[in-house]
């Protein structure tokens, strides 16, 4: 592991966003704007909206703005599709200087017409980027007219980058999804159907959960938004229950659907054995069917018999190691703390980009004394606390990975680019294996030896 540099500087505005359990008692500052110049790891409103909506496989996702925003989000995520693959294309109006001066509406209209002509999509989502609001393009009107002209849904996604942070983008996405969902009067409620919110089918994760629930006798009506299509999203009000995996992005959607359609929701998590078992039982209990309960127990018993021994094997090799966590949302951080505990590992630093106050309360409750908790951390803080706390491993995204490696720490990619599932029983075993593969790799011991 790298040696800690003594010259760490603190930015005053950041101090209330960093807490050490047992040392400071006042609540952490979160859900605030990033401090300029601090090198935040957060993205923007557009990013949040795009992450949530992009897995809708049969939609044309058209980015209205200069080319960059479309370029940086082209097919970088690991969402899988069972059918359409239009979502893997990157469409942009590629605004030029003259469009900025004279307005981008005419070009946008041409682009929409061309795309309808070429791909005949059932739905088109038009994302606004930073400058669209500034140059005064009326996205709403253009989309409304295009809908009438082509007889398909063309929905504006009001995701100007500066208008908040990534979580505001989640909310924008939820509003768009609510516009896609059909009116309740067209629906008949299905007793054993549920919607699965906040799973983006990364590496087929939504499929794994679907198969578990199917076995119990519960049908996943549609996942929001992993491997979803417009026609199936529309039928969301017919479900009797919403289950929410990623609460950060979809908690709002669940609340709104409860208000509008009277569909109750459960916050669940399929990350780690403990959470998976508990979540399956809670879902099954909700339906109050003894047959479901017995099937659930049979499934749990069978899967645990397969995967628990595997995890125990890894646990023996990982016991006592220390983990640092820096992920997008609070729910994931919470699940990871529990998951590391299953592996006999302690979390010594935990942070999120956009965690909410109540999530930080849970985190505070879960971690041991001395654990550092931080919101919207920057590379300097991550470096400092990983080294100070003696972490052996970091869980994070693409930007954090090279930092961990430069510091000589193991790393787990817990992001949307992942190519193997981390959900459910099989996912828990994959996670344990990945931790073992990185922490116990032979490469680390070659870093310590110096040449004479």
């Amino acid at each position: 592991m790298a040696i800690r540099q003594p010259d760490h500087v603190f930015i005053r505005e950041r101090q209330n966003s960093i807490r050490t359990k047992g040392r400071q008692s006042q609540p952490i500052n979160c859900q605030a704007d990033s401090v300029a110049g601090c090198v935040s790891q957060r993205a923007c409103v557009y990013c949040g909206a795009r992450v949530v909506l992009n897995p809708i496989t049969d939609a044309v996702h058209l980015v209205h703005g200069p080319i960059g925003c479309a370029s940086y989000t082209w097919d970088i995520r690991g969402s899988l599709s069972s059918g359409a693959d239009l979502f893997r294309y990157s469409f942009s109006t590629d605004l030029q200087e003259e469009d900025i001066i004279f307005g981008g509406e005419r070009k946008l209209i041409r682009c929409i017409d061309e795309l309808v002509d070429r791909y005949h999509p059932p739905i088109m989502l038009v994302y606004s980027t930073c400058i669209v609001g500034v140059i005064g393009d009326d996205l709403e009107a253009v989309c409304r007219n295009a809908s009438l002209r082509h007889g398909i849904k063309v929905i504006p996604v009001q995701s100007s980058g500066f208008s908040g942070n990534k979580s505001d983008g989640y909310r924008v996405a939820c509003e768009v999804l609510l516009r896609m969902v059909a009116p309740i009067q067209e629906m008949t409620r299905q007793a054993h159907h549920l919607n699965y919110l906040g799973d983006f089918n990364l590496a087929g994760e939504a499929w794994i959960i679907r198969s578990y629930l199917q076995e119990i006798g519960i049908h996943v009506n549609v996942a929001f938004t992993g491997d979803s299509q417009y026609e199936t999203l529309k039928t969301a009000p017919s479900a009797s229950l919403n289950i929410v995996q990623c609460a950060g992005s979809m908690g709002y959607m669940a609340k709104r659907m409860e208000e509008i359609y009277g569909i109750p929701f459960l916050n669940i998590s399929f990350l780690g054995l403990e959470d998976t078992v508990e979540s399956l039982r809670r879902i099954s209990d909700f339906f109050g069917n003894p047959l479901f309960s017995s099937r659930t127990e049979a499934l749990i018993e069978r899967e645990m018999a397969i995967y628990d021994p595997i995890i125990q094997q890894y646990r023996n090799r990982l016991m006592g190691k220390k983990a640092a966590v820096f992920v997008g949302g609070g729910f994931k951080a919470i699940s990871l703390i529990k998951q590391f505990r299953e592996l006999g590992m302690e979390v010594v630093m935990v942070g999120t980009q956009t965690g909410r106050q109540e999530e930080y309360d849970t985190i505070h409750h879960l971690v041991t004394e001395g654990t550092v908790v931080l919101d919207d951390a920057n590379p300097s803080e991550l470096e400092r606390f990983m080294l100070e706390q003696g972490a052996d491993l970091l869980v994070g995204g693409v930007k954090e990975r090279p930092l961990a490696f430069k510091l000589g720490l193991a790393f787990i990619d817990h992001n949307h680019e992942r190519k193997h599932p981390l959900s459910g029983f099989v996912g828990a075993a994959n996670f344990a294996r990945e931790v073992e593969q990185t922490v116990c790799s032979p490469v680390w011991k070659y870093l310590d030896k110096e040449l004479v």
């Binding site: 110049g37 090198v39 935040s40 080319i67 960059g68 940086y72 942009s92 980058g161 300097s380």
Partner: protein, 470 residues
Amino acid sequence: MKADKNKVRSVTENPCNMCMPMGAIVPFKGIKDTMVIIHGSQGCATYMRRHMAEHFNEPIDVASSSITETGTIYGGEANLKQGLDNLIQLYNPQVVGILSTCLAETIGEDIGRIAAVYQTEKGESFSPRLIPVPTPGYGGSHAEGYFQALRSIVQTLSKKFMKHNGINVIVPHISPADVREIKRILELMQVQYTLLPDISDTLDSPYTKVYKKIPEGGTSLEDIEAMAGAQATIQFGEAVDDELSPGKYLETEYGVPLYNLPLPMGIAACDKFIELLHRLTQKTIPEGLKKERGRLQDAMVDSHKYNREGRAAVFGEPETVYGISRVLVENGITPAILATGSKSLPLKGLLQLLTSKCEEEALIMLNTDFSNIRSHCADKGINLAIGNSDGRFLTEREGIPLVRVGFPIHDRIGGQRIMTVGYTGTTMLLDQITNTLLTSKLSSYREDLYQRFYVNPVVSNDEQVRRNSL
């Protein structure tokens, strides 16, 4: 999903370029002790950092002024100043590059003025040099952003300087390994040089016991200051417009003669570079370098028959596309599609001239996207794609193998170590091209011939005869 090739599209589908500020970050990363701040919303910096981190496998720290709704309405000056305060405190840089974005430019932020005001407010003792570069996302591609920033760096930091024997070497966006190779050649030739920008260590830094927030390496400020007194500038930037050209600036402002060369890719371009160094310095060409050249010649002969079957689509930044095209032409590989997302007009002329003696007219596409490139692949009988990872759709959808060169390489490891310049780099690239062609051929020839002559022996049409009898 057939493309209508005759229609000019408004929509860009699967882009072949990125935006200006992305390109502008790179040269700043090649200046010693430098940090960059992007004046715009938080997402721009984060997306670009993510993209670059994946390519270089290095931590990429870039600050943002994090403009919010308030900043958009009332101006982002306060954000930028606070951002500068914080990043200077955290990183203690010698130079700070300030890049604008489409948002900043559209709301009328004058980063030059803000930088000047900031400097004045801080007074005499304030040390980092601030280099503002206007880089609106709609102003051009990342390739133009790169040279825009490089030119601003030279304009800001160079000053009237005593004449000396040094040679300025200005490089386009090439890999850290390429920069190292060019430096090795300069050192072999015993040339006194300043290479700008030097990303060889900063964006491919070795593991060290103590982590540094700003990696060691990069061109020093003193060296950049002295560029105005150099004997000559060699710039690998034939496709660069004069107003973006740092070498042109040094020539017109300080009378430093400019030699604009193609990247040393392919034997002729390497010769040009070495011969120019020899002419300028009168240093003898070392035996070792001559042997490298001989090995390239040997490799060209060894693989020429396989290469003749190659029909390539090349895409990427202008200088890279030109360099690769030169390698193709020298080796008898058909340069069937030569494409870039940039609007570089000089590139068009260069490629036309280069391919004018080819049997078949090359399809040259500026300001294009991957959908366009893909739509011509079948017609052109493309069996080889050369360029960055974004060309992977050509493999996935058209079955065309991709030789990865350029930026970004995000689906393979080691983008920072891909070396394609010099005699040795050209040899390595050529081997890779040949082996890619061989892999395709060896994996399919048994089945192809079985189908063609045993299962279904029909009379070939003219086109097949022409292709197969090459």
